[in-house]
Amino acid sequence: MVQFLIKRFIGLIFVVVGVTFITFILGYFAPGDPIRDLLGTHYNLQTYLALKHAYGLDLPWYTQYLRFLGNLFRFQFGYSFQYQNRSVASILAEGVPVSAELAFWALIIQVGVGVPLGIVSALRANTWIDTVNMGVMLVFFALPVFVLAVFVQVFIVWIDQHTGASWPVSQWGNAWQYTPTDISYKLAPILVFAAGGAAFFARLTRASMLEVLRQDYVRTARAKGLTERAVIYRHALRNGLIPLLTVVGLALGTLVTGAFFIENVFNIPGIGYETIISIGTRDYPVIQATVVLLAVGVVVGNLLADIFYSLADPRIKIQ
């Protein structure tokens, strides 16, 4: 186990280096001169050079990269170009709780609704329940998240216009608080965000369960006289859910990208939103920090998923 972890950790380091390097290089070659933009009309050579030095932008690229890397490990993401004297970390710190809350609830619904739906569909395979279920899931699965978001927004607006309600169509309430107002803000984005993922899990679980239910050991379990409940929920499910662990990486990936769209469409002030704004203002440190954070987060998530998978399936021997 330890050997495995070490090996994976080294791989992780390699990937992190690659990701940070690419992110850094893109920022390095980015067009425009942020210092000049900063100074605007107050440009004078001395201030320019001084500022450049302060930001460390006059060093050769490899030194800059090493500084970049070193800072990353200390969670220092530098200072924002746009908002002077504000550290990138503080900008992110505002967005992270919001994005985390959004992603958290979305994930809970995805798994908590998707998996049971998948199980139901598998148990009632090819009946009308299954067909309807999978049909709906297909739609949610195929629709891009921003398409669904738009539909929902249109729908909310229509409701507001016809019932006089004032269901908000954008913005977020207070992070991690749940007054009725907060909920009215958060319900739609979370559901929209969760829909695609739930559909994905439903389809996956269905397929996995169907595969498992065909297995000989399920027949053995029945031959032993176990109740159908025991056969399904003890023997079949244990095996059927294992493959879900392998898709955690995927789920995380889509969670991250989806967040960008949800936050933009619904004007939710999370890190995705901040990043898009930073792109518009060429605030590279923020962009870099977000990208690195998210990429590393996903990679670590993958690693954890692999570990759990090997724990869950006794056939896997860690080498």
Partner: protein, 325 residues
């Protein structure tokens, strides 16, 4: 005369597929006495496995369905039992082991658990400890060495032969009256085959368990069974005590089967004589004797009328043929 343990009367199990109705088992009847070992022999597709599954009512429905007949186990008609009653019967009054031990065990549970599970299910009020003890006992019985420790191992840590023994342990844990073994040795090495068969035989004698042994291999039958049913195309074509099957087979199919087995004491250079032709398509209506197209003794009558099981006059031997040997 002892009561019949198992009576199968006019069993019909059909499969309703998109391309038509496949009559996998078409009106068969036989009996088994307590403690008896019955061999069921035939080619792939002759209906022997489906017979076994029908007795256990484990036929996949849909597309399969038991459409007629009776299956009476110790006086109770299995076909009339409710689902709940069936789960009580399976594993405790009758059990089954299957052909492929590699896939028949659940990979995520250790084998001790898988045995103990059956015990807990069928013995009310038994504690986990006692169930586990019984599991270890069973492992000893099927000659898995170091049973106590190995009970905690997972199926993938055992070889094929050992996994089959575990299956036997599971099947016999609650002392059933009938054990159905569907080609238990087909997937195993020849040397292991003998061991497993010996085990089944020994345990059956020790506990008085009747065994329905399904196989395509006549050699397997020779050493273990008391009676043999020969099946072809969903029918039983011959049924006799094992000695008579080998010494005086009556049905041309049985004769053909025996002739196609290589023998150590046969003449050198003697050619093997396989049975020519193919078994019939069970999805089509069969008129007359199903074996007629391949039978060396076929006459006109065979293609028009279907023969039923009649006594040959030698003891318990019955055969379904108009022109038996």
């Amino acid at each position: 005369m002892a009561e019949n343990l198992l009576e199968v009367n006019n069993l019909k199990t059909y499969f309703f597929t998109r391309s038509g109705v496949v009559k996998a088992v078409d009106d068969i009847s036989f009996v088994m006495k307590p403690g008896e070992t019955l061999g069921v022999v035939g080619e792939s597709g002759c209906g022997k496995s489906v017979t076994a599954l029908s007795v256990m009512r484990l036929v996949t429905t849909p597309p399969g369905k038991i459409v007629g007949g009776e299956i009476v186990l110790s006086g109770e008609n299995i076909l009339e039992k409710s689902k709940d009653e069936l789960t009580d019967i399976r594993g405790s009054k009758m059990s089954m082991i299957f052909q492929d031990p590699m896939s028949s065990l659940n990979p995520v549970f250790n084998i001790g658990f898988q045995i103990a599970e059956t015990v807990k299910r069928h013995r009310k009020g038994i504690s986990n400890d006692q169930a586990w003890k019984r599991a270890v006992e069973m492992l000893d019985l099927v000659r898995i060495s170091d049973a106590k420790r190995r009970a905690k191992n997972f199926p993938h840590e055992f070889s094929g032969g050992m996994r089959q023994r575990v299956m036997i342990a599971i099947a016999l844990a609650c002392n059933p009256q009938l054990l159905i073994a569907d080609e238990p040795t087909t997937a195993l090495d020849v040397t292991i085959q003998a061991q497993v068969l010996e085990l089944i035989n020994g345990l059956s004698k020790e506990f008085g368990t009747a065994v329905m042994l399904i196989t395509h291999d006549l050699g397997v039958v020779a050493g273990t069974c008391k009676y043999v049913n020969v099946m072809y195309a969903g029918h039983i074509v011959e049924s006799a005590p094992v000695k008579q099957i080998f010494e005086s087979p009556a049905h041309p199919y049985t004769v053909g089967l025996l002739a196609s087995i290589p023998r150590l004491d046969g003449n050198r250079g003697e050619k093997l004589t396989p049975i020519s032709g193919q078994p019939p398509d069970l999805g089509k209506e069969i008129i007359g004797c199903p074996y007629a197209p391949r039978c060396p003794r076929v006459q006109a009558r065979c293609r028009e009328e279907r023969p039923t099981l009649q006594s040959t006059g030698h003891g318990d031997q019955v055969v379904a043929c108009f022109y038996p040997y």
